[in-house]
Amino acid sequence: MAGSATNDAAKPLILTDNDTGDKYTLEFSRESVKFAEARGFDVEDVGKYPMTKVPDLFFYAFRKNHRGVARERTDRMLFDDLKGLSPAAIERLLALYTAPFEALVVAEDDGGEKNARMTVEL
């Protein structure tokens, strides 16, 4: 898929277990976001309560591609193996979490702006 909208999309976060060689691709689908919200997860809480919400976010990020991985295992990976996530990695997970929503509302780039009354510059 090509296009400016998709070029800005966050790339999945890939974890590699150096002992076993297992790779985990962390990203979100609409189903996994729905799954997280159904369990009371609110993305806005990640900044407020990082100690509890980052592990939640981390666990939900496995659901799309590695549904069988249990919460205990993801917590172990996060706290014991990785010793936490860097701010950049958390930011990436947040971007991946919001992508299913952003993709629904992102504006088309095929000339629609020509007739628009207002434009946005970044």
């Binding site: 296009g3 909208a5 609409r30 993305v43 919001t98 992508a99």
Partner: protein
Amino acid sequence: MSYAEQFYEAFPYYLSIGMPSHEFWDGDPWLVWGYRKAHGLKNEQRNYEMWLQGLYIHESISVAIENAFGRKKGQQPVRYMDKPIRITPLTEKEKADKAEMARQKLIAELTAWEKRFNKGKSTEGGEQSGGHN
């Protein structure tokens, strides 16, 4: 409104433009962008086809009206276009054939003109020579 609620709200729209349910929920989140864009292109194409159909209808009615009310006695009836309107660009071979046809037509016209010219000249010359005699 939660994200999930917004997904449920958008879901029927994406189903209506042909996105399978599993792609919407489990696929790459940005697929929706592709489906939206494809839908826009499809609409444009449909709009163009409808416009083209209108053009054909306009042409056929114009021909019918011209033949019914505008044709003079003895005049050949106007014919509806014998080929569809071309909507795809010409291939290189077609371009070359078209250029060759135009060239042949020009040659034929010039040859005919030359013949007329020479005929007129000889007639004029004959009259002149006749006049002298």
